[in-house]
């Protein structure tokens, strides 16, 4: 081949070899950087108002970017099983300063701000303040009242305020009828499993966000597990009366003819009895990891 004809070929070789080298080097650099940074997430500018000023007329677009970043942040923290969600609040703050009408941010944000670790930031007061800000900017969106009542009910356990929130939200003509019902029930009875299940179901059905759905599902399963454990405790009581001791495991109950088969939790793991003879989730079950949030006396 003559020299001019070789040139395209030569270029092809340079490109392939060059980019192969670039790829190798990049992987090397990535490895180095990981060891350099412990904390890969950084938020250099934390001031919402400053960012709003800098964004000229493109604040809504910047809000979308920060929202995406928030979702990615939460998602990556979850996969990496790290528990420090320090940046969740600043990111949400910036997002909603840039666009106060970004409703998904309030719903998602309040849920995971309020949830205790490992699934959330464990800042229920901040979540309430956040929701109030959202309500001020979007007074017509009744679901924010739902979320507010939710947090008062679950995380703050302030049933008076929860009831007020549900009541306030029910005044919106677009609100679903159960808001009013719930306002009354919570005010009367405070916390009840029925209410809790209902609320988590409502969240599960009303959102399209994958994270929120997953979270609600986990809660529903834990509640289910709680219910099952209560029933098993009652049966254990019965067993104790008959045999004079509490059962060691569920097989005892089966053998005693109290239950037809070994009951499993929603993930398929058999329930166990602890040393005191009270029913518990199987430690091998993934649900057991999430259980700490339900270590509350009934």
């Amino acid at each position: 081949m003559s020299a001019p004809k070789m040139r395209p070929l030569l270029l092809g070789v340079v490109l392939v070899a060059g980019f192969a080298g670039v790829w190798r080097l990049q992987r090397g650099i990535d490895a180095q950087i990981v060891s350099l940074h412990q904390e890969q997430d950084e938020l250099v500018l934390r001031s919402g108002p400053v960012l709003k000023l800098m964004s000229l007329e493109y604040a809504p677009l910047l809000a979308d970017l920060y929202w995406t970043r928030t979702v990615q942040y939460y998602g990556s923290k979850n996969t990496r099983a790290e528990h420090q969600l320090d940046l969740l609040w600043p990111l949400l703050d910036i997002t909603t300063t840039l666009d106060p009408n970004l409703l998904p941010a309030y719903r998602f944000g309040s849920t995971f701000l309020a949830e205790p670790a490992p699934r959330g930031a464990g800042m229920p007061e901040q979540a309430i303040e956040f929701l109030n800000r959202g309500i001020r900017a979007n007074p017509d969106y009744w679901r924010l009242y739902q979320d507010l009542g939710f947090i008062y009910y679950f995380d703050m356990r302030d049933y008076g305020k929860a009831s007020s929130a549900f009541l306030e939200g029910s005044k919106n003509p677009k609100a679903l009828p159960w808001m009013k019902v719930l306002a009354a029930r919570v005010s009367e009875r405070g916390e009840s499993r029925e209410t809790s299940v209902f609320l988590w179901n409502e969240v599960y059905n009303s959102t399209s966000d994958a994270q929120l759905k997953k979270n609600a599902l986990t809660h529903l399963r834990l509640l289910r597990g709680q219910e099952d454990c209560e029933q098993l405790d009652a049966l254990a009581e019965e067993f104790g009366k008959r045999r004079g001791r509490r059962p060691d495991n569920v097989q005892d109950l089966v053998n005693a003819g109290l239950i037809p088969g070994a009951p499993v939790d929603p993930l398929g793991f058999v329930y166990v009895f602890d040393a005191d003879g009270f029913a518990q989730l199987n430690p091998a079950s993934p649900l057991a990891k999430d259980q700490p949030i339900y270590q509350r006396p009934m």
Binding site: Y58, L61, D99, L102
Partner: protein
């Protein structure tokens, strides 16, 4: 008057042949990629992203065109001396300016309309049936056009008496300043002298108020834009453009060409 139209048509033709409209390819790719991506990463705000991204791109691309081409409208003809033969014809200098303004405006209208079509295509892809409420996005696009007209007029003015670089800086500077006019008017400061405050207030009415045309948030969230605002903004843009163009015509009519 029709002589201005002759100049306008030639300005448009020159822009087209200068491959200015190729930016549409970039825009189309951007919208295409965005439409596909938002669905994949599932952040619940697909529609909002398409609208904000689309409007932002229309605004930024339009501004780049308005500033860079606008600044060259007169200075390029002066540098390259194409103006000499033209002004020897029975055409007045202000007719020439008006024609240049019209030609670039026409280019921007065509460009923006094409981009708006692309935006709606992406929007349709993301949320299949388009609702009547989505028409608010068209209003937002119209407002962007009004804003661009104002920027072109300013660029033209600066192009008449200063170098292209300075003209770009001045025009861009006025655009940014024009976005903060409302802050300037309501500046809260205990330490500022009342005279200064009054001056800033007065200045805030003098500067072109570009935040008038900022309705991206409303369009993104599907809130209706009052027709009255559209009418007033149109009048504001027309009046301000008239003022700027009159100034440009005055400056240019006494300018000695090289």
């Amino acid at each position: 008057m029709s002589r201005a139209a002759v100049v306008a048509w030639n300005t448009f033709r020159e822009a087209v042949r200068d491959r200015v409209l190729y930016n549409l390819v970039f825009f189309a790719l951007l919208m295409f990629a965005a439409a596909i991506l938002v669905g994949q990463i599932s952040i619940q705000i697909e529609q909002i992203v398409i609208v904000t991204l689309g409007l932002s791109a229309i605004s930024v691309i339009g501004l780049l065109m308005a500033v860079f081409i606008g600044v060259g409208l007169v200075s390029k003809e002066m540098d390259k001396r194409t103006l000499y033969a033209l002004l020897a014809k029975p055409v007045r200098r202000w007719e020439f300016l008006l024609g240049k303004f019209g030609g670039l405006l026409l280019t921007l209208v065509v460009n923006t309309a094409a981009m708006a079509a692309g935006l709606f295509a992406a929007l349709w892809y993301v949320k299949h049936p388009l609702e009547r409420g989505d028409a608010v996005v068209l209003v937002a696009v119209y407002f962007i056009l009004l804003k661009l007209a104002l920027v072109v007029a300013l660029a033209l003015l600066f192009s008449c008496y200063t170098t292209p670089l300075l003209a770009i800086l001045f025009t861009a500077g006025l655009y940014v300043a024009g976005l903060f006019v409302n802050e300037m008017r309501d500046l809260q400061s205990a330490t500022m002298a009342p005279g200064m405050k009054a001056f800033l207030r007065w200045l805030s009415y003098l500067l072109p108020n570009f935040s008038n045309f900022d309705v991206m948030a409303a369009a993104a969230h599907g809130r209706a834009i009052p027709a009255m605002l559209a009418a007033q903004n149109t009048a504001y843009a027309a009046l301000y453009c008239a003022i700027v163009l009159a100034a440009a015509a005055t400056v240019f009519s006494r300018r000695n060409l090289k």
